[in-house]
């Protein structure tokens, strides 16, 4: 017994020791794993462009620039010179990115509008598979929300639009302010939006008031207006002929074949939907802009000539809740003649109804403004580089909220009157 009892006691002791040793080993393994996990950069956790453009998150973006380059960026903000830098998001960083000042009306030396190209200095370099992004300084929008809400409405209505999210931007560890991260319009955008990476996309540059009149048969008249973002090295004839044809057809005097001719070079339905959304959100500087057409890209599939519009820069939306849905429509040569056709006019009104329904349904537009405002307000208030004061921000958000609440009914009322 004794010996058995001693044996049992010995076994228990050995078992305890073994368990203790096992626990120690487990603890060591756990600690080791924990250390490993801690050491692993967050980049190792797979991130995608969807994460970067997730609008429900306020991101932190950090850029590191040479101090003299940063000063030069501020001093020479009107130039398009690229400066080398390092870009970091969620612990994932990429070096030798190219950073330049960007924007037209929003370009300034205080709160820099920035374009970041990942592949300019290192060909083929990508960040999350992206070639570049735009960091919009939200300079002209006191609410800092207009663009992202408008783009969300475009997307809700099935229209191609760049993805956007918000970020606090730090350059050399100094807070620069609240920015919008905007997807660039390039072959990757075409691939995502149209499944057509080989398509043509051209950025429209505002040079003077242009209302869709015929610029002439010389393609050189179109090259400063439309800058190719894909097929940059292709012959001007291939790139620009369909654009020249569009404006040629749109300005022909014959009524019998006019519509057929325009339809060959313009996706009329998509065009009207684009304009309907702009008119719904009372866009000041779009296709029916106060100074002619502005802020759009032209997309053309690789295999046909029918062109579509992609919206850009919506800082001037939500201007006037009472704005007419036909505001400046007649100024535009193409729109004026398109809406002269009763069936297209009716289609346009139906599209406006769809806009109102999409905005009012489940108070979607109001809720979009509300949750985005909640997301950005602390960072916007902390942004000392912004053009507007914090009171302006609060007032701007309040105006957007009332616009979101009242606009659908006002538009529906206008549609009823138009019929």
């Amino acid at each position: 017994m004794n010996s058995h009892g001693e044996d049992t006691a010995t076994e228990k002791t050995e078992m305890r020791d073994a368990l203790r040793a096992l626990r120690v080993r487990r603890s060591v393994v756990h600690i080791f794993v924990a250390i490993l996990l801690g050491l692993l950069p967050q980049a190792a956790v797979a991130q995608t462009p969807d994460d970067l453009f997730d609008p429900t998150t306020l991101h932190d973006i950090r850029i590191r620039l040479n101090a003299r380059d940063l000063q030069s960026l501020h001093d020479r903000y009107l130039e398009n010179a690229f400066y080398p830098g390092e870009f970091e998001w969620r612990g994932a960083s990429v070096g030798n990115v190219a950073v330049r000042s960007r924007g037209t009306g929003s370009r300034n030396g205080i709160k820099l509008g920035l374009e970041v190209e990942f592949d300019r200095f290192i060909g083929g370099q990508r960040f999350l598979g992206l070639r570049g992004i735009v960091l919009d300084n939200l300079w002209q929008d006191p609410a800092l929300l207009r663009e992202s809400v408008t783009m969300a409405l475009f997307a809700r209505l099935g229209q191609p639009a760049p993805r956007e999210s918000y970020a606090r931007l730090f350059i050399n560890d100094e807070y620069q302010g609240l920015y919008a991260i905007v997807e660039t319009i390039d072959d990757q955008f075409l691939s995502r939006s149209f499944g057509d990476p080989a398509g043509y996309v051209l950025e429209y540059h505002w040079l003077s008031e242009f209302y869709g009149s015929y610029p002439g048969s010389r393609l050189s008249a179109y090259t400063p207006m439309f800058e190719p973002r894909t097929h940059e090295l292709e012959s001007p004839t291939t790139v620009y002929s369909p654009i020249e044809r569009l404006f040629y057809e749109a300005n022909r005097n014959t009524d019998s074949t006019w519509r057929e001719g325009v339809d060959r070079y313009l996706d009329v339905q998509q065009f009207l939907m684009h304009v309907a959304i702009e008119e719904f959100v009372s866009e000041l500087d779009g296709i029916t802009g106060y100074a002619g057409m502005n802020n759009f890209y032209l997309y053309r599939p690789a295999d046909n000539t029918r062109q579509q519009l992609i919206p850009w820069d919506r800082d001037n939306a939500f201007q006037d809740v009472q704005s007419s849905v036909f505001l400046r429509i007649d100024d535009n040569e193409i729109l004026r003649r398109l809406l002269g056709y009763p069936d297209l006019r009716e289609l346009y009104l139906q599209m406006l109804e769809a806009c109102a329904a999409a905005a009012a349904g489940d108070r979607w537009l109001e809720r979009e403004v509300a949750w985005r405002a909640a997301l950005i307000t602390p960072a916007a208030h902390a942004d000392t580089n912004k053009w507007y004061s914090n009171d302006d921000v609060d007032r701007g958000i309040a105006l957007l909220q009332s616009f979101a609440r009242d606009r659908p009914a006002i538009v529906l009322n206008q549609i009823r009157e138009a019929r």
Partner: protein, 445 residues
């Protein structure tokens, strides 16, 4: 490409006629000089009359025409008038959006005067007839003492090829190394002379020469530049074929302020393959080695030039970056098939065209390479602050034929095969190979 323009066929025909006229004119002059006496048999008085157009007497102002139109004003001043026109017809196989690379190019229309003052000083003033920066050599050389002093605007003493007059080049274009890495002309003062077997030049210049100077305010170039060159003719006193051999070493040093450097890489016909988008700051140093040997109708030349430009404080964190390095070399050889002595110049044929011969014919070949790079540890990129710059280079082989119908006319044809090593979109090295051909007609007084 400045100075280059496309011309219509009618313009080409007009230019062709002008060249033929000039050619005929100088052939006629040449023939007048030679006739009616056989070589070496003309009476002295006849030579004097023929050369001066009159009888020269001591202290008088006389005009003569031998190699150049020359005006002697008494014993105090002698003026040699010079003019040169060069027209190129060229075709490049390089695929580029720059159509100006092909076509007809009036490469040079240059006039000048060189002379002697009281036998103690020489001078030269030369300028292009058009262009933004028309002045070429404008200098005075005081030669009263064994150490001569030269001041004004002239070429810095670095590179044999660069310091060879464009009229006397073996090939239509200078070597890549001389064109892109040698400094060229600047304003300065230089002491030079010979001591036994050694020739020397040491000078100080306002800038780093105009070869690389970019015509933009965004690029920076070397400031005050010190330059020196020592050439040894080790067999100068011998009677052997080695008598003409010379070897030399040269250097320049200057400081470049912070900014985009101005050193660039271009192919023979001017296609850019390395653009000055790299930030530099600090010392710029050149070191060059040269060799020339011209036994009989042959010549062999070789040069190596290395240029280093510091990049102090140009890192992202203001640290120093490895210097931007450039290097170029060439080896060339020529052979005058008609037997003239190369050291005396093939441009003075023994039997000119229409005077019992067909002029002098020379063939030659040159191989060369020009490279740009920066060694370091880090990512290869094209950023202005790139730590590592991928090696970019141009390797070229030139085959040439020169025809000198007479003293004043030269026709050159060059076939150039080039191989550019440049970064591809994904920063791998890619090679572009192409041929170019150039025909040059030169008329020089």
């Amino acid at each position: 490409m400045s100075g280059i323009y496309q011309v219509s066929w009618s313009d080409r025909v007009c230019k062709g006629c002008a060249c033929i006229f000039l050619l005929t004119f100088c052939v006629k002059l040449d023939a007048q000089q030679a006739a009616p006496w056989p070589e070496g048999a003309a009476p002295a008085s006849a030579v004097a009359q023929q050369a001066t157009g009159g009888v020269a007497e001591q202290g008088e102002t006389t005009f003569t025409w031998r190699d150049h139109p020359t005006l002697d004003i008494g014993d105090h001043l002698q003026l040699d008038f010079r003019a040169r026109i060069q027209a190129d017809v060229r075709r490049s196989g390089f695929v580029t959006a720059d159509d100006d690379l092909d076509g007809v190019d009036i490469a040079r229309r240059r006039v000048g005067v060189a002379g002697t003052i009281d036998r103690v000083a020489t001078f030269e003033v030369e300028r292009e007839l058009d262009g933004n920066n028309p002045w070429r050599d404008v200098y005075l050389n005081y030669q009263q003492f064994p150490v001569q002093v030269q001041g004004g605007r002239f070429k810095l003493p670095l590179s044999l090829d660069e310091n060879t007059s464009a009229t006397n080049l073996d090939f239509i274009y200078r070597s890549r190394a001389a064109t892109q890495l040698a400094p060229g002309r600047d304003v300065g003062v230089m002491a030079h002379g010979r001591h036994g077997l050694v020739r020397y030049d040491f000078g100080i210049f306002r800038g780093d020469g105009d070869n690389s100077r970019a015509n933009t305010t965004t690029h920076v170039t070397g400031m005050t530049t010190r330059a020196g060159r020592v050439v040894i003719d080790p067999f100068r006193r011998s009677k052997s074929a080695w008598r003409d051999l010379q070897v030399g070493v040269a250097f320049t040093t200057s400081t470049v302020p912070e900014g985009f450097g101005d050193i660039r890489g271009r192919s023979a016909l001017g296609e850019s393959f390395f653009t000055p988008t790299i930030l530099v700051n600090g010392a710029r140093r050149r070191i060059a080695l040269e060799q020339r040997w011209r036994p009989g109708p042959f010549s062999v030349k070789a040069e190596y030039i290395r240029l280093t430009n510091e990049r102090l404080g140009q890192g992202m964190d203001n640290g120093d970056l490895p210097p931007l390095e450039s290097a170029g070399w060439y080896v060339s050889g020529t052979w005058i098939l008609t037997g003239e002595q190369k050291s005396r110049g093939a441009d003075n044929p023994k039997r000119p065209l229409f005077q019992g011969g067909y002029g002098a014919i020379e063939v030659g070949g040159r191989i060369e390479k020009l490279s740009f790079w920066s060694d370091g540890i880090g990512q290869i990129s094209t950023s202005p602050r790139a730590e590592v710059i991928l090696r970019q280079s141009d390797r070229a082989a030139t085959f040439g034929v020169n025809w000198f119908p007479n003293r004043w006319t030269k026709l050159q044809f060059n076939l150039v095969q080039e191989q550019l090593l440049i970064p591809s979109r994904d920063m791998a090295a890619q090679t572009l190979q192409f041929w170019s051909r150039v025909l040059r007609v030169q008329f020089a007084l």
